[in-house]
Protein backbone atom coordinates (compact mmCIF):
# COMPACT_ATOMS: atom_id res chain seq x y z
CA UNK A 1 0.00 0.00 0.00
CA UNK A 2 2.77 2.41 0.90
CA UNK A 3 4.28 1.68 -2.47
CA UNK A 4 0.97 2.09 -4.18
CA UNK A 5 0.59 5.55 -2.75
CA UNK A 6 4.16 6.35 -3.67
CA UNK A 7 3.69 5.06 -7.19
CA UNK A 8 0.44 6.86 -7.59
CA UNK A 9 2.02 10.14 -6.64
CA UNK A 10 5.02 9.31 -8.75
CA UNK A 11 2.84 9.15 -11.81
CA UNK A 12 2.13 12.83 -11.38
CA UNK A 13 4.88 14.80 -12.96
CA UNK A 14 5.25 18.36 -14.03
CA UNK A 15 5.32 18.42 -17.80
CA UNK A 16 7.88 20.41 -19.70
CA UNK A 17 5.37 22.97 -20.82
CA UNK A 18 4.59 23.86 -17.22
CA UNK A 19 8.28 24.17 -16.42
CA UNK A 20 8.87 26.33 -19.44
CA UNK A 21 6.03 28.74 -18.78
CA UNK A 22 7.18 29.07 -15.20
CA UNK A 23 10.75 29.82 -16.30
CA UNK A 24 9.49 32.36 -18.80
CA UNK A 25 7.36 33.98 -16.19
CA UNK A 26 10.25 34.23 -13.77
CA UNK A 27 12.44 35.62 -16.53
CA UNK A 28 9.89 38.24 -17.37
CA UNK A 29 9.57 39.15 -13.76
CA UNK A 30 13.28 39.24 -13.01
CA UNK A 31 14.42 42.80 -12.62
CA UNK A 32 10.92 43.98 -11.95
CA UNK A 33 11.12 43.63 -8.25
CA UNK A 34 9.94 47.14 -7.68
CA UNK A 35 6.84 46.57 -9.71
CA UNK A 36 5.98 43.51 -7.70
CA UNK A 37 6.26 45.36 -4.46
CA UNK A 38 4.35 48.26 -5.90
CA UNK A 39 1.57 45.93 -6.93
CA UNK A 40 1.23 44.48 -3.46
CA UNK A 41 1.25 47.94 -1.95
CA UNK A 42 -1.15 49.15 -4.57
CA UNK A 43 -3.59 46.37 -3.83
CA UNK A 44 -3.56 47.30 -0.19
CA UNK A 45 -4.13 50.92 -0.99
CA UNK A 46 -6.88 50.06 -3.40
CA UNK A 47 -8.62 47.94 -0.85
CA UNK A 48 -8.28 50.65 1.75
CA UNK A 49 -9.59 53.26 -0.66
CA UNK A 50 -12.59 51.11 -1.47
CA UNK A 51 -13.35 50.57 2.17
CA UNK A 52 -12.99 54.26 2.88
CA UNK A 53 -15.31 55.04 0.01
CA UNK A 54 -17.94 52.60 1.19
CA UNK A 55 -17.64 53.94 4.70
CA UNK A 56 -17.94 57.52 3.53
CA UNK A 57 -20.93 56.67 1.38
CA UNK A 58 -22.52 54.90 4.31
CA UNK A 59 -21.97 57.74 6.71
CA UNK A 60 -23.10 60.44 4.34
CA UNK A 61 -26.08 58.35 3.27
CA UNK A 62 -27.00 57.79 6.88
CA UNK A 63 -26.75 61.45 7.70
CA UNK A 64 -28.64 62.34 4.54
CA UNK A 65 -31.52 60.15 5.59
CA UNK A 66 -31.48 60.80 9.31
CA UNK A 67 -30.64 64.47 9.59
CA UNK A 68 -33.72 66.51 10.30
CA UNK A 69 -33.98 69.49 7.98
CA UNK A 70 -37.44 70.71 8.84
CA UNK A 71 -39.76 70.65 11.81
CA UNK A 72 -43.49 70.54 12.18
CA UNK A 73 -44.91 71.30 15.56
CA UNK A 74 -48.49 70.46 16.48
CA UNK A 75 -49.86 72.28 19.48
CA UNK A 76 -53.28 71.96 20.99
CA UNK A 77 -52.84 71.15 24.55
CA UNK A 78 -50.56 68.27 23.72
CA UNK A 79 -47.36 69.60 22.24
CA UNK A 80 -45.80 67.34 19.63
CA UNK A 81 -42.98 68.13 17.32
CA UNK A 82 -41.98 66.10 14.28
CA UNK A 83 -38.49 66.33 12.82
CA UNK A 84 -38.48 65.61 9.10
CA UNK A 85 -35.64 64.62 6.83
CA UNK A 86 -35.08 65.74 3.26
CA UNK A 87 -37.63 63.25 1.99
CA UNK A 88 -40.29 64.67 4.33
CA UNK A 89 -40.28 61.55 6.44
CA UNK A 90 -40.46 61.64 10.20
CA UNK A 91 -37.07 60.89 11.73
CA UNK A 92 -38.00 61.87 15.26
CA UNK A 93 -41.18 62.69 17.11
CA UNK A 94 -40.84 64.52 20.37
CA UNK A 95 -43.53 65.29 22.91
CA UNK A 96 -43.05 68.41 24.96
CA UNK A 97 -45.63 67.73 27.62
CA UNK A 98 -47.40 64.85 29.34
CA UNK A 99 -50.38 64.92 27.04
CA UNK A 100 -48.13 64.73 24.03
CA UNK A 101 -46.29 61.76 25.49
CA UNK A 102 -49.52 59.89 26.01
CA UNK A 103 -50.35 60.30 22.36
CA UNK A 104 -46.92 59.36 21.07
CA UNK A 105 -46.76 56.29 23.30
CA UNK A 106 -49.54 54.67 21.32
CA UNK A 107 -48.27 55.66 17.91
CA UNK A 108 -45.32 54.64 15.85
CA UNK A 109 -44.85 57.32 13.26
CA UNK A 110 -41.12 57.19 12.70
CA UNK A 111 -40.26 56.75 9.04
CA UNK A 112 -43.75 57.65 7.90
CA UNK A 113 -44.44 60.52 5.60
CA UNK A 114 -45.23 63.50 7.74
CA UNK A 115 -48.73 63.92 6.32
CA UNK A 116 -49.50 60.35 7.36
CA UNK A 117 -47.96 61.05 10.73
CA UNK A 118 -50.12 64.14 11.21
CA UNK A 119 -53.20 62.17 10.20
CA UNK A 120 -52.32 59.46 12.68
CA UNK A 121 -51.82 61.98 15.46
CA UNK A 122 -55.04 63.82 14.64
CA UNK A 123 -57.08 60.65 14.63
CA UNK A 124 -55.63 59.39 17.86
CA UNK A 125 -58.48 59.09 20.38
CA UNK A 126 -56.52 60.97 23.03
CA UNK A 127 -55.90 63.80 20.60
CA UNK A 128 -59.56 63.84 19.65
CA UNK A 129 -60.41 64.59 23.27
CA UNK A 130 -58.35 67.72 23.14
CA UNK A 131 -59.71 68.87 19.82
CA UNK A 132 -62.76 70.51 21.25
CA UNK A 133 -64.46 73.36 19.51
CA UNK A 134 -62.91 76.02 21.69
CA UNK A 135 -59.37 74.70 21.54
CA UNK A 136 -56.93 75.97 19.01
CA UNK A 137 -54.91 73.70 16.79
CA UNK A 138 -51.70 75.27 15.61
CA UNK A 139 -49.31 73.82 13.06
CA UNK A 140 -45.96 75.50 13.12
CA UNK A 141 -43.63 74.69 10.26
CA UNK A 142 -39.93 75.51 10.22
CA UNK A 143 -38.06 74.70 7.05
CA UNK A 144 -35.65 76.24 4.65
CA UNK A 145 -36.88 78.30 1.76
CA UNK A 146 -38.88 76.50 -0.87
CA UNK A 147 -39.77 73.68 1.45
CA UNK A 148 -41.79 75.56 4.05
CA UNK A 149 -44.64 76.64 1.78
CA UNK A 150 -45.13 73.14 0.50
CA UNK A 151 -44.93 71.62 3.98
CA UNK A 152 -47.44 74.08 5.31
CA UNK A 153 -49.82 73.56 2.44
CA UNK A 154 -49.71 69.80 2.78
CA UNK A 155 -50.15 70.02 6.52
CA UNK A 156 -53.19 72.20 5.95
CA UNK A 157 -54.61 69.68 3.56
CA UNK A 158 -54.52 66.92 6.12
CA UNK A 159 -58.01 65.92 7.04
CA UNK A 160 -57.41 66.28 10.76
CA UNK A 161 -56.50 69.84 10.20
CA UNK A 162 -59.32 70.56 7.85
CA UNK A 163 -61.91 69.04 10.13
CA UNK A 164 -61.05 71.30 13.00
CA UNK A 165 -62.45 74.76 12.58
CA UNK A 166 -60.23 76.65 14.95
CA UNK A 167 -56.93 75.80 13.39
CA UNK A 168 -54.15 77.64 11.71
CA UNK A 169 -50.69 77.00 10.43
CA UNK A 170 -47.71 79.26 10.72
CA UNK A 171 -44.32 79.02 9.15
CA UNK A 172 -41.36 80.31 11.05
CA UNK A 173 -37.64 80.64 10.71
CA UNK A 174 -35.42 77.61 11.19
CA UNK A 175 -33.33 79.51 13.72
CA UNK A 176 -36.24 79.52 16.13
CA UNK A 177 -36.11 75.72 16.29
CA UNK A 178 -32.84 75.51 18.15
CA UNK A 179 -33.88 78.26 20.52
CA UNK A 180 -37.14 76.46 21.23
CA UNK A 181 -35.31 73.19 21.83
CA UNK A 182 -32.89 74.91 24.18
CA UNK A 183 -35.83 76.12 26.21
CA UNK A 184 -37.44 72.71 26.15
CA UNK A 185 -40.71 73.65 24.53
CA UNK A 186 -42.14 72.98 21.15
CA UNK A 187 -41.68 75.24 18.21
CA UNK A 188 -45.31 76.34 18.12
CA UNK A 189 -45.37 77.32 21.74
CA UNK A 190 -42.06 79.07 21.50
CA UNK A 191 -43.32 81.11 18.63
CA UNK A 192 -46.52 81.91 20.45
CA UNK A 193 -44.42 82.95 23.43
CA UNK A 194 -42.31 85.21 21.23
CA UNK A 195 -45.48 86.91 20.11
CA UNK A 196 -46.67 87.27 23.65
CA UNK A 197 -43.28 88.67 24.65
CA UNK A 198 -43.88 91.65 22.44
CA UNK A 199 -46.54 92.75 24.85
CA UNK A 200 -45.66 91.21 28.13
CA UNK A 201 -42.13 90.16 28.96
CA UNK A 202 -43.05 89.18 32.49
CA UNK A 203 -44.18 85.76 31.35
CA UNK A 204 -41.33 83.29 31.20
CA UNK A 205 -40.93 80.28 29.02
CA UNK A 206 -41.39 78.02 32.03
CA UNK A 207 -44.81 79.47 32.58
CA UNK A 208 -45.61 78.91 28.96
CA UNK A 209 -44.67 75.27 29.21
CA UNK A 210 -47.71 74.50 31.27
CA UNK A 211 -50.13 76.59 29.29
CA UNK A 212 -52.11 75.35 26.35
CA UNK A 213 -51.54 77.13 23.10
CA UNK A 214 -55.00 78.66 23.22
CA UNK A 215 -54.19 80.19 26.57
CA UNK A 216 -51.03 81.80 25.27
CA UNK A 217 -52.88 83.10 22.25
CA UNK A 218 -55.63 84.32 24.51
CA UNK A 219 -53.13 86.30 26.56
CA UNK A 220 -51.62 87.69 23.42
CA UNK A 221 -55.01 88.78 22.23
CA UNK A 222 -55.78 90.53 25.49
CA UNK A 223 -52.54 92.40 25.22
CA UNK A 224 -53.15 93.21 21.63
CA UNK A 225 -56.38 94.86 22.58
CA UNK A 226 -54.78 96.94 25.30
CA UNK A 227 -51.84 97.77 23.20
CA UNK A 228 -53.85 98.91 20.27
CA UNK A 229 -55.94 101.24 22.43
CA UNK A 230 -52.84 102.82 23.82
CA UNK A 231 -50.94 103.13 20.63
CA UNK A 232 -53.59 104.11 18.17
CA UNK A 233 -52.06 107.47 17.62
CA UNK A 234 -48.56 106.24 17.14
CA UNK A 235 -49.60 103.52 14.79
CA UNK A 236 -51.64 105.84 12.69
CA UNK A 237 -48.75 108.13 12.09
CA UNK A 238 -46.49 105.27 11.48
CA UNK A 239 -48.89 103.88 9.01
CA UNK A 240 -49.24 107.06 7.07
CA UNK A 241 -45.55 107.46 6.67
CA UNK A 242 -44.80 103.91 5.94
CA UNK A 243 -47.37 103.25 3.36
CA UNK A 244 -46.25 104.37 -0.06
CA UNK A 245 -48.55 106.64 -1.98
CA UNK A 246 -49.45 104.08 -4.51
CA UNK A 247 -50.65 101.53 -2.09
CA UNK A 248 -52.75 103.97 -0.17
CA UNK A 249 -54.22 105.00 -3.40
CA UNK A 250 -55.02 101.46 -4.28
CA UNK A 251 -56.45 100.79 -0.90
CA UNK A 252 -58.64 103.76 -1.08
CA UNK A 253 -59.71 102.95 -4.56
CA UNK A 254 -60.63 99.58 -3.57
CA UNK A 255 -62.62 100.90 -0.68
CA UNK A 256 -64.46 103.25 -2.87
CA UNK A 257 -65.11 100.50 -5.25
CA UNK A 258 -66.49 98.29 -2.62
CA UNK A 259 -68.57 101.06 -1.22
CA UNK A 260 -70.26 101.46 -4.46
CA UNK A 261 -70.41 97.96 -5.63
CA UNK A 262 -71.30 95.89 -2.68
CA UNK A 263 -72.50 98.39 -0.18
CA UNK A 264 -70.16 96.87 2.28
CA UNK A 265 -69.53 99.25 5.10
CA UNK A 266 -66.29 101.03 5.58
CA UNK A 267 -65.51 99.57 8.92
CA UNK A 268 -65.02 96.12 7.51
CA UNK A 269 -62.89 97.41 4.76
CA UNK A 270 -60.81 99.31 7.21
CA UNK A 271 -60.11 96.08 8.98
CA UNK A 272 -59.00 94.48 5.77
CA UNK A 273 -56.87 97.41 4.83
CA UNK A 274 -54.89 97.03 7.97
CA UNK A 275 -54.24 93.37 7.45
CA UNK A 276 -55.87 92.32 10.58
CA UNK A 277 -54.89 89.20 12.38
CA UNK A 278 -57.04 86.18 11.98
CA UNK A 279 -57.66 86.17 15.68
CA UNK A 280 -58.87 89.70 15.66
CA UNK A 281 -61.59 88.78 13.27
CA UNK A 282 -62.58 85.94 15.41
CA UNK A 283 -62.70 87.84 18.59
CA UNK A 284 -64.95 90.44 17.05
CA UNK A 285 -62.91 93.36 18.17
CA UNK A 286 -64.05 96.73 17.10
CA UNK A 287 -62.40 98.52 14.28
CA UNK A 288 -60.25 100.76 16.45
CA UNK A 289 -58.45 97.83 17.97
CA UNK A 290 -57.96 96.24 14.68
CA UNK A 291 -56.49 99.28 13.22
CA UNK A 292 -54.03 99.72 15.98
CA UNK A 293 -52.53 96.29 15.93
CA UNK A 294 -51.28 96.25 12.43
CA UNK A 295 -47.66 97.12 12.84
CA UNK A 296 -46.03 93.94 14.02
CA UNK A 297 -48.57 91.52 12.95
CA UNK A 298 -48.98 92.33 9.37
CA UNK A 299 -45.57 90.98 8.55
CA UNK A 300 -46.10 87.73 10.31
CA UNK A 301 -49.50 87.34 8.88
CA UNK A 302 -48.31 88.06 5.47
CA UNK A 303 -45.60 85.51 5.72
CA UNK A 304 -47.81 82.76 6.93
CA UNK A 305 -50.48 83.48 4.43
CA UNK A 306 -53.27 83.35 6.96
CA UNK A 307 -55.11 86.28 5.70
CA UNK A 308 -55.84 84.92 2.30
CA UNK A 309 -59.30 86.32 2.57
CA UNK A 310 -57.98 89.75 3.33
CA UNK A 311 -58.49 92.31 0.68
CA UNK A 312 -55.03 93.64 1.16
CA UNK A 313 -53.57 90.36 0.04
CA UNK A 314 -55.08 90.76 -3.39
CA UNK A 315 -54.49 94.38 -4.03
CA UNK A 316 -53.37 93.92 -7.56
CA UNK A 317 -56.53 92.19 -8.54
CA UNK A 318 -58.59 94.86 -7.12
CA UNK A 319 -56.62 97.51 -8.78
CA UNK A 320 -57.37 95.80 -12.04
CA UNK A 321 -60.99 95.60 -11.20
CA UNK A 322 -60.94 99.24 -10.46
CA UNK A 323 -59.54 100.06 -13.78
CA UNK A 324 -61.92 97.78 -15.52
CA UNK A 325 -64.89 99.23 -13.88
CA UNK A 326 -63.51 102.67 -14.59
CA UNK A 327 -65.66 104.11 -11.91
CA UNK A 328 -63.19 105.60 -9.57
CA UNK A 329 -60.39 107.14 -11.41
CA UNK A 330 -61.55 110.57 -10.49
CA UNK A 331 -61.66 109.66 -6.88
CA UNK A 332 -58.05 108.82 -6.76
CA UNK A 333 -56.90 112.13 -8.00
CA UNK A 334 -55.69 114.77 -5.65
CA UNK A 335 -53.18 114.61 -2.88
CA UNK A 336 -53.45 111.24 -1.36
CA UNK A 337 -51.18 112.01 1.50
CA UNK A 338 -53.37 114.83 2.62
CA UNK A 339 -56.41 112.76 2.27
CA UNK A 340 -54.81 110.04 4.17
CA UNK A 341 -53.94 112.17 7.08
CA UNK A 342 -57.31 113.78 7.10
CA UNK A 343 -58.79 110.46 6.97
CA UNK A 344 -56.90 109.19 9.98
CA UNK A 345 -57.58 112.29 11.94
CA UNK A 346 -61.20 112.05 11.24
CA UNK A 347 -61.16 108.49 12.10
CA UNK A 348 -59.61 109.16 15.47
CA UNK A 349 -61.92 111.94 16.23
CA UNK A 350 -65.07 110.17 15.30
CA UNK A 351 -64.15 106.60 15.89
CA UNK A 352 -65.92 105.88 12.68
CA UNK A 353 -64.31 106.37 9.40
CA UNK A 354 -67.39 106.46 7.26
CA UNK A 355 -67.49 110.23 7.85
CA UNK A 356 -64.45 110.61 5.81
CA UNK A 357 -65.95 109.00 2.82
CA UNK A 358 -69.12 110.93 3.09
CA UNK A 359 -67.05 114.06 3.12
CA UNK A 360 -65.08 113.00 0.14
CA UNK A 361 -67.99 112.15 -1.94
Amino acid sequence: MANRIHDAFDSIQADDRLKETTKQFIQARAGKKSRFIYRAAFQGTLMFACMALVLAAGISGYSWIFTPVSYVSIDVNPSIELALNRLDRVVAAAAYNKEGEEILNDLSIKGKRYTDAIEAIMHDPIMQDYLQDDSELIFTVAADGGRDDRLKMEAENCSGHMGHGNSQSISVDLEIVSKAHDSGISLGKYYAWLQLMQYDDSITIDQCKNMSISKIHGLTKVHEQHESHDQDEVHDQHNTHEQPDESSEDSLNEQDFNDHESGQNEEDMQGSLNEQDFNDHESGQNEEDMQGSMNEQDFNDHESGQNEEDVQGSLDEQELEDHESGQHEEDTQGSMNDQDENYWDEYDASGHNSHHYEGRH
Partner: protein, 161 residues
Protein backbone atom coordinates in the same frame (compact mmCIF):
# COMPACT_ATOMS: atom_id res chain seq x y z
CA UNK B 1 17.38 38.16 -5.34
CA UNK B 2 18.40 34.90 -6.87
CA UNK B 3 19.79 34.64 -10.35
CA UNK B 4 17.82 33.21 -13.22
CA UNK B 5 20.06 30.17 -13.32
CA UNK B 6 19.35 29.33 -9.71
CA UNK B 7 15.63 29.62 -10.29
CA UNK B 8 15.76 27.47 -13.42
CA UNK B 9 17.64 24.85 -11.50
CA UNK B 10 15.05 24.93 -8.73
CA UNK B 11 12.26 24.64 -11.29
CA UNK B 12 13.80 21.45 -12.67
CA UNK B 13 14.37 20.06 -9.24
CA UNK B 14 11.10 20.82 -7.48
CA UNK B 15 8.56 21.04 -10.31
CA UNK B 16 7.30 17.49 -9.80
CA UNK B 17 6.94 17.91 -6.07
CA UNK B 18 5.08 21.17 -6.39
CA UNK B 19 2.86 19.72 -9.05
CA UNK B 20 1.90 16.86 -6.73
CA UNK B 21 1.05 19.19 -3.90
CA UNK B 22 -0.96 21.32 -6.32
CA UNK B 23 -2.61 18.17 -7.57
CA UNK B 24 -4.00 17.12 -4.27
CA UNK B 25 -4.94 20.69 -3.35
CA UNK B 26 -6.21 22.22 -6.56
CA UNK B 27 -6.76 19.50 -9.15
CA UNK B 28 -6.64 21.75 -12.21
CA UNK B 29 -4.05 23.06 -14.62
CA UNK B 30 -4.63 26.77 -14.67
CA UNK B 31 -4.45 27.03 -10.92
CA UNK B 32 -1.34 24.87 -10.83
CA UNK B 33 0.37 27.20 -13.22
CA UNK B 34 -0.51 30.15 -11.02
CA UNK B 35 0.92 28.38 -8.00
CA UNK B 36 4.13 27.54 -9.88
CA UNK B 37 4.61 31.17 -10.74
CA UNK B 38 3.91 32.30 -7.24
CA UNK B 39 6.19 29.77 -5.60
CA UNK B 40 9.17 30.37 -7.88
CA UNK B 41 8.72 34.11 -7.77
CA UNK B 42 8.87 33.86 -4.02
CA UNK B 43 11.90 31.65 -4.32
CA UNK B 44 13.58 34.23 -6.54
CA UNK B 45 12.82 37.02 -4.07
CA UNK B 46 13.89 34.97 -1.07
CA UNK B 47 17.23 36.31 0.11
CA UNK B 48 17.92 33.81 2.89
CA UNK B 49 20.57 31.19 2.21
CA UNK B 50 19.40 27.63 2.81
CA UNK B 51 21.63 25.54 5.02
CA UNK B 52 21.29 22.49 2.74
CA UNK B 53 19.15 20.83 0.09
CA UNK B 54 16.75 19.42 2.65
CA UNK B 55 16.19 22.86 4.07
CA UNK B 56 15.44 24.20 0.63
CA UNK B 57 13.06 21.35 -0.12
CA UNK B 58 11.19 21.84 3.13
CA UNK B 59 10.98 25.56 2.45
CA UNK B 60 9.58 24.83 -1.01
CA UNK B 61 7.00 22.46 0.40
CA UNK B 62 5.90 24.90 3.01
CA UNK B 63 5.65 27.77 0.54
CA UNK B 64 3.70 25.61 -1.92
CA UNK B 65 1.27 24.40 0.71
CA UNK B 66 0.74 27.97 1.90
CA UNK B 67 0.28 29.21 -1.64
CA UNK B 68 -2.30 26.48 -2.33
CA UNK B 69 -4.18 27.23 0.86
CA UNK B 70 -4.14 30.96 0.16
CA UNK B 71 -5.35 30.29 -3.32
CA UNK B 72 -8.23 28.18 -2.10
CA UNK B 73 -9.12 30.84 0.39
CA UNK B 74 -9.04 33.64 -2.14
CA UNK B 75 -12.28 35.22 -3.10
CA UNK B 76 -11.79 34.86 -6.85
CA UNK B 77 -11.06 31.19 -6.69
CA UNK B 78 -14.07 30.54 -4.50
CA UNK B 79 -16.43 32.45 -6.70
CA UNK B 80 -15.15 31.79 -10.22
CA UNK B 81 -13.88 28.26 -10.70
CA UNK B 82 -16.30 26.24 -12.75
CA UNK B 83 -17.13 22.83 -11.39
CA UNK B 84 -16.07 20.85 -14.44
CA UNK B 85 -12.51 22.10 -14.10
CA UNK B 86 -12.02 20.73 -10.64
CA UNK B 87 -11.36 17.12 -11.52
CA UNK B 88 -9.64 17.61 -14.85
CA UNK B 89 -6.17 16.67 -13.63
CA UNK B 90 -7.30 13.28 -12.49
CA UNK B 91 -8.06 12.37 -16.07
CA UNK B 92 -4.38 12.32 -16.94
CA UNK B 93 -3.50 9.93 -14.14
CA UNK B 94 -2.78 6.41 -15.48
CA UNK B 95 -5.63 3.97 -15.00
CA UNK B 96 -3.90 1.69 -12.49
CA UNK B 97 -3.10 4.50 -10.05
CA UNK B 98 -6.35 6.33 -10.29
CA UNK B 99 -8.10 4.33 -7.61
CA UNK B 100 -5.42 5.10 -5.04
CA UNK B 101 -5.21 8.75 -5.94
CA UNK B 102 -8.95 9.15 -5.82
CA UNK B 103 -8.96 7.62 -2.38
CA UNK B 104 -6.21 10.01 -1.25
CA UNK B 105 -7.95 13.00 -2.77
CA UNK B 106 -11.21 12.10 -1.10
CA UNK B 107 -9.56 12.33 2.31
CA UNK B 108 -10.39 15.35 4.39
CA UNK B 109 -7.91 18.13 3.73
CA UNK B 110 -6.03 17.82 6.98
CA UNK B 111 -4.91 14.23 6.13
CA UNK B 112 -3.58 14.88 2.65
CA UNK B 113 -0.41 16.73 3.63
CA UNK B 114 0.79 14.10 6.11
CA UNK B 115 -0.06 11.26 3.71
CA UNK B 116 1.82 12.86 0.84
CA UNK B 117 4.79 13.92 2.94
CA UNK B 118 5.04 10.55 4.63
CA UNK B 119 4.36 8.12 1.82
CA UNK B 120 5.85 9.97 -1.10
CA UNK B 121 8.50 12.29 0.26
CA UNK B 122 9.38 9.87 3.03
CA UNK B 123 9.48 12.33 5.89
CA UNK B 124 9.21 11.09 9.46
CA UNK B 125 6.38 12.19 11.72
CA UNK B 126 8.74 14.56 13.50
CA UNK B 127 9.81 16.19 10.24
CA UNK B 128 6.22 16.45 9.01
CA UNK B 129 5.35 18.06 12.31
CA UNK B 130 8.04 20.66 11.72
CA UNK B 131 6.98 21.41 8.18
CA UNK B 132 3.29 21.64 8.98
CA UNK B 133 3.74 23.33 12.33
CA UNK B 134 2.02 20.49 14.18
CA UNK B 135 3.06 18.36 17.11
CA UNK B 136 4.65 15.01 16.31
CA UNK B 137 1.89 13.10 18.06
CA UNK B 138 -0.72 14.99 16.11
CA UNK B 139 0.95 13.87 12.91
CA UNK B 140 0.94 10.26 14.15
CA UNK B 141 -2.75 10.30 14.84
CA UNK B 142 -3.50 12.08 11.57
CA UNK B 143 -1.54 9.44 9.70
CA UNK B 144 -3.17 6.51 11.48
CA UNK B 145 -6.65 7.88 10.95
CA UNK B 146 -5.91 8.56 7.30
CA UNK B 147 -4.64 4.99 6.98
CA UNK B 148 -7.86 3.73 8.48
CA UNK B 149 -9.92 5.62 5.94
CA UNK B 150 -7.76 4.51 3.03
CA UNK B 151 -7.91 0.88 4.18
CA UNK B 152 -11.63 1.00 4.18
CA UNK B 153 -11.72 2.55 0.73
CA UNK B 154 -9.12 0.44 -0.91
CA UNK B 155 -10.30 -2.87 0.49
CA UNK B 156 -8.38 -3.64 3.64
CA UNK B 157 -4.93 -4.19 2.18
CA UNK B 158 -2.31 -3.47 4.77
CA UNK B 159 -0.65 -0.16 4.49
CA UNK B 160 2.89 -0.22 5.66
CA UNK B 161 4.49 2.39 7.76
Amino acid sequence: MRSEGEVNHAVEEYADMIKRVCFYYLKNHADTEDIFQKVFLKYMMHEEIFSDGEHEKAWMLRVTINACKDYLKSFFRRSTVPLEMIMEMEAEVPEDHREVLEAVLSLPDKYKDPIYLHYYEGYSAAEIGKILGKKENTVYSLLSRARGILKEKLGGEGIGE
